[in-house]
C-alpha cells in the first residue's frame, strides 16, 4: 500500500523554481485539459500542478524532488490517448513534454533522427519527407507526440509493411523515478547485449521512466505510391479477402477496413463523398483500402493487376485506383476523420483496440455486433485489416452515463473474453492505461501480470510514476503485494 503525499506550497515553490513561473501551473491555475485525455468516460482527475518542461535536467530535478516527497508524477504529451494513460488518477503533478518539441538533428549517413519527445508525429513526418526520408510508423492520430507514440508503442496504418514504433526506436534518454539520467540503446541496428531495457521502456506508458530524447530510425521514402479501394457486399467478405491480398506478394504498405456507415458519416462530416457507395448498381457494405508502393509506374501497374485479380476472386465489386494527388488527399482525409466523426456524433463513447488473428477479424466483429445488440449499445468500427487490429467504438446518445457504463462493461467482458479465446491481444496500439488493466490481467494471466508488477517495482520502488496504470495497483492488490 503506497501512501502518496500532496503538494505543499513549499514543494510547489521548489517545482516552480525548476521550470520558472511561465511554465508552471499550480492549484487553480491548472487547466482543465490536464484532467482527461480523449476518452473522458474513464473519469477526470485534475493534477495539483503542471510543469511544462524543456530539458532532461528539468525532468531530473522534478523527479528527484517528487521521489523524495513521494508525490505522483504523470507524463503527458498531446493528451490524445484513449485509455486514460496520461491522466493523473492519483493526483500529484503532470509533466508536459509539449515544449520539448524540437527536432534536434538528422544523421543522413545512418538514416536516423534525434528528436525531443514533444515533437508531434505530423511535424516529424513532414520534416523527414522534406529530407527525402520517411518515418514509417503512421498512427491515425497525427497530432500525438512521438514520445507518446513510443510510450504506447503506437502502430498505425503502415504497420503491416514496416512494423510498429518499437521497430524504429534505436536509442533514448530516460530519467528514472529517482531522477537519475540514463541513456539506453545505440545508433546501431543490431544488439545482442543483455536484457533490452530500451524495449522494456517502449510501450511502458510512462510507468518506468520519463523519455526525454529519442533516436529514431528512418528509411528512404518510396518513389511512388497508389491506393486502391475495394468495395465489398459486407464486412465478412471484405475481411475474407485480406489473407489472399497478403499472400499475393504485393508487400502492401497498409490494408485498412472500414464499414459503410462510418464512410457515410465521414462523407457528411467532411462534405466530401469520396468513397463511392453504389458500384455498378450494387450497394457497398464495407471497404478495404490498400496502399502499394514502388519505384516506377510499371512496377505499381503490375502489382495493381495482381491485386485486381485477387480482389475479383474475393468478391470485390470493383478495384478503384486512387492515383492522382488530389484523390489521395481526399481519400486519406476521409479515413483520418473517422474517429473525429464518431466523437462528433456521439455523446457517450468507449472503445476497444483489440488485435485478433487476421482470419478471425470478421468472426470477432460479427460476435461484437451481436453482443452490442443484446446490450443495446451501438458499435462502430474500422481498423487495420492487415494486422488484425480493430478499433471498435461503443456509442450511445440515449442512455444515461451510469447505465451506458454498465452495459458497455458487460459487452466488453464478453468481447475481451472472446478475444482471449481467439488468442488475441487486449490492445494493439492504444495501450492499457487504467481503463484496460483488468482485461490485461485476464488476458496475460496472473503469472505474467505479477512479473510485470515486479518489474515496475524494480524501476519505481515508491510507485510514483504514473501510478495505477498498466500493472500497478497503488492500493496494493494481490499482484502488487
Amino acid at each position: 500500500m503506497t501512501s502518496y503525499n500532496t503538494l505543499t506550497p513549499e514543494i510547489a515553490e521548489q517545482l516552480c523554481s525548476i521550470v520558472g513561473e511561465g511554465r508552471f501551473q499550480y492549484g487553480r491555475a491548472v487547466r482543465e485539459e490536464y484532467s482527461h485525455d480523449e476518452m473522458p468516460i474513464y473519469g477526470r482527475f485534475l493534477p495539483e500542478a503542471v510543469c511544462l518542461v524543456e530539458s532532461t535536467e528539468e525532468v531530473s530535478a522534478i523527479l528527484r524532488l517528487c521521489y523524495e516527497y513521494t508525490i505522483p508524477v504523470t507524463v503527458r504529451g498531446a493528451g490524445t490517448g484513449l485509455v486514460g494513460g496520461c491522466v493523473p488518477i492519483q493526483g500529484g503533478i503532470v509533466i508536459s513534454t509539449m515544449r520539448m518539441n524540437r527536432i534536434l538533428s538528422y544523421d543522413m549517413n545512418n538514416l536516423v533522427v534525434h528528436t525531443q519527445p514533444g515533437v508531434r508525429l505530423c511535424d516529424l513526418a513532414a520534416d523527414a519527407l522534406a529530407h527525402g526520408l520517411m518515418y514509417p510508423p503512421d498512427p491515425g492520430e497525427k497530432t500525438a507526440t512521438v514520445g507518446g507514440n513510443v510510450s504506447t508503442n503506437a502502430g498505425g496504418m503502415r504497420a503491416v509493411k514496416y512494423g510498429v514504433t518499437r521497430d524504429y526506436v534505436l536509442a533514448m534518454t530516460v530519467v528514472l523515478p529517482d531522477g537519475q539520467i540514463m541513456k539506453l540503446g545505440k545508433t546501431v541496428c543490431k544488439t545482442s547485449s543483455g536484457y533490452s531495457l530500451l524495449h522494456l521502456m517502449i510501450g511502458s506508458e510512462g510507468t518506468l521512466g520519463v523519455i526525454t530524447e529519442l533516436t529514431l530510425k528512418l528509411i528512404p521514402k518510396p518513389r511512388m505510391d497508389v491506393s486502391l479501394i475495394l468495395p465489398f457486399e459486407d464486412i465478412a467478405k471484405a475481411i475474407a479477402s485480406v489473407p489472399s491480398i497478403k499472400l499475393a506478394n504485393l508487400d502492401p504498405q497498409s490494408i485498412e477496413f472500414m464499414e459503410r456507415d462510418i464512410v457515410d458519416s465521414s462523407a457528411s462530416f467532411t462534405g466530401n463523398a469520396v468513397f463511392p457507395t453504389a458500384i455498378n448498381g450494387r450497394e457497398a457494405g464495407a471497404y478495404i483500402l490498400v496502399t502499394l508502393v514502388g519505384d516506377s509506374e510499371s512496377e505499381l501497374a503490375a502489382k495493381m493487376d495482381r491485386l485486381g485479380e485477387v480482389a475479383e476472386r474475393a468478391g470485390a465489386y470493383d478495384t478503384l485506383v486512387v492515383w492522382t494527388d488530389g484523390l489521395k488527399k481526399d481519400v486519406w482525409a476521409a479515413r483520418s476523420a473517422f474517429l473525429t466523426v464518431i466523437e462528433a456524433e456521439t455523446k457517450l463513447l468507449d472503445e476497444m483496440d483489440v488485435v485478433v488473428p487476421v482470419d478471425r477479424i470478421a468472426e470477432f466483429l460479427v460476435y461484437t455486433h451481436d453482443e452490442a445488440e443484446k446490450q443495446g449499445v451501438t458499435v462502430r468500427s474500422f481498423g487495420h485489416a492487415g494486422d488484425g487490429n480493430l478499433h471498435i467504438y461503443c456509442c450511445s446518445n440515449e442512455l444515461d452515463e451510469e447505465e451506458f457504463k454498465r452495459r458497455v462493461k458487460r459487452l466488453m467482458d464478453h468481447c475481451y473474453a472472446k478475444c482471449t479465446e481467439f488468442e488475441g491481444q487486449v490492445s494493439g496500439e492504444h495501450s492499457i492505461g487504467h481503463a484496460k488493466k483488468e482485461y490485461l490481467r485476464e488476458s496475460v494471466g496472473d503469472t505474467a501480470y505479477s512479473l510485470m508488477s515486479a518489474i515496475k517495482r524494480v524501476f519505481d520502488p515508491k510507485g510514483i510514476l504514473n501510478p495505477g496504470k498498466v500493472c500497478h495497483d497503488p492500493e496494493g492488490g494481490a499482484a502488487d503485494a
Partner: protein, 333 residues
C-alpha cells in the same frame, strides 16, 4: 482601330426594377475618379424601367449621362439579349471602357459581348488606375491565388471591358452634377433567346451560414490541419457569440461550405473582431476583411502576409492558441 475614337466610361446599372445593385453604384463612384483623370464622361447604362429614387442614387455618384435603353426582350435577364444589346451599343457609341458588376449575370454576359466585338475583358480587378501616358486603364488584380499583383491592360482594342466583384469599391456618392439623358430603343427578338427561367427556389435561411453581418468571426485558413480540428473553432465562435468562416482553399478542400468563404470570391465582412487562424493573408481574402474593427491573426509562420494587416498577431500553433482562448474565455465567464 483608332483608340482616340473611343471615349467615355460606361457603367452598367444592374437592377431588378426596384433597386439598383450596390455593386453598380460602387462602380459608378470608382469610375467617376477615372473620368476625372481622363477627362471623359461617366455614363450609366440603365436597361428597362428603374424607379426615380434609384435613378437619383445613380446620378448622385457624379454621372454625366444616363443612357436609358427601352425595348423588348430584356426582362427577365438573358445572356443572349444582353450580349447583343451591349455589342450594338458599343459599336454605335464607342465607349472607351465598360464596367460591369461581377454578379452571376454580369459575369455571364460581359466576357461574351467582349468576345463578340471583339475586345479584351478583365475580371476581378481590385484597383483601377488611369494611365495618362497611354490612355489605358490599369486593371490591377491579385494573381496566382493572391500571392502577387498583376497589372492587366487592353492596350490596343476598345472598349476595355471589366467585371468587378461586389464590395471591391466603396459607395461614396459625391453628389449629382449636371447630366443629360439619352434614350435608346432596341428590341431583341424573343425567339433568339435560348434560355428560359422556369422557377426559383430561395435558399432556406441557415443563420450559421449568414456571416455577412456577424459581429465576431472566427476564420480558419489553409493552415487548418483537417476537418477533425474544426470543432474547437466552432466552439470558440460560439463562445464569442459569433460565426465560423473560412478562406477559399478551405472550401476547395471540401471542409466547409461556400457560403462561409470570406474574400473577393466570397463574402465581404465587417465584424467587431475578426480572428484569423492559419490564414496566410492572400489579397483575395484580405479584401474581404479590411473593414473589421479589430483583426487578430494567428499563424505559425512569422512571415505570413496576414500579420501585415492585423491589429494583433500571435505566432504559434493555431489549435493550441484556439484551445487557450477557449479555456481563457471559459475561465472569465
Amino acid at each position: 482601330m483608332k483608340k482616340s475614337e473611343y471615349k467615355d466610361i460606361w457603367v452598367y446599372i444592374e437592377h431588378d426594377g426596384k433597386k439598383a445593385q450596390s455593386v453598380s453604384l460602387e462602380l459608378c463612384c470608382e469610375a467617376r475618379k477615372l473620368c476625372d483623370a481622363s477627362g471623359e464622361m461617366l455614363v450609366a447604362v440603365i436597361v428597362g424601367k428603374l424607379s426615380e429614387e434609384e435613378r437619383e442614387k445613380v446620378v448622385s455618384c457624379g454621372v454625366d449621362r444616363l443612357l436609358c435603353v427601352c425595348g423588348t426582350g430584356f426582362e427577365p435577364f438573358s445572356v443572349d439579349a444582353y450580349t447583343e444589346l451591349f455589342t450594338v451599343l458599343c459599336r454605335k457609341y464607342k465607349p472607351s471602357a465598360v464596367l460591369v458588376g461581377g454578379t452571376i449575370d454580369g459575369r455571364d454576359f460581359a466576357p461574351r459581348f467582349a468576345c463578340r466585338l471583339p475586345t479584351g475583358c478583365t475580371s476581378d480587378a481590385t484597383q483601377l488606375v488611369y494611365d495618362t501616358k497611354t490612355g489605358d486603364i490599369e486593371f490591377i488584380e491579385p494573381a496566382v491565388g493572391g500571392k502577387m499583383m498583376a497589372v492587366i491592360t487592353v492596350p490596343v482594342m476598345r472598349p476595355q471591358v471589366g467585371t468587378i466583384r461586389p464590395g471591391t469599391f466603396k459607395y461614396q456618392p459625391i453628389g449629382a452634377r449636371a447630366f443629360e439623358i439619352r434614350e435608346e430603343h432596341f428590341d431583341f427578338p424573343p425567339e433568339k433567346i435560348r434560355t428560359k427561367v422556369i422557377g426559383f427556389l430561395p435558399d432556406e435561411l441557415d443563420e450559421t451560414l449568414n456571416i455577412a453581418d456577424a459581429e465576431y468571426i472566427v476564420c480558419v485558413g489553409n493552415g487548418l490541419k483537417g476537418a477533425d480540428t474544426l470543432p474547437r473553432y466552432r466552439e470558440l465562435a460560439e463562445l464569442l457569440g459569433g460565426k465560423l468562416a473560412c478562406t477559399r482553399p478551405v472550401f476547395d478542400r471540401g471542409v466547409l461550405p461556400y457560403k462561409l468563404v470570406i474574400g473577393q470570391s466570397g463574402v465581404v465582412v465587417k465584424p467587431k473582431i475578426y480572428l484569423a487562424f492559419g490564414v496566410s493573408g492572400a489579397v483575395n481574402h484580405v479584401t474581404g476583411i479590411l473593414d473589421s474593427d479589430v483583426i487578430v491573426a494567428v499563424n505559425k509562420d512569422p512571415d505570413a502576409a496576414i500579420f501585415g494587416y492585423c491589429t494583433y498577431g500571435i505566432v504559434g500553433d493555431m489549435d493550441e492558441i484556439c484551445d487557450a482562448l477557449i479555456a481563457e474565455l471559459k475561465a472569465r465567464h
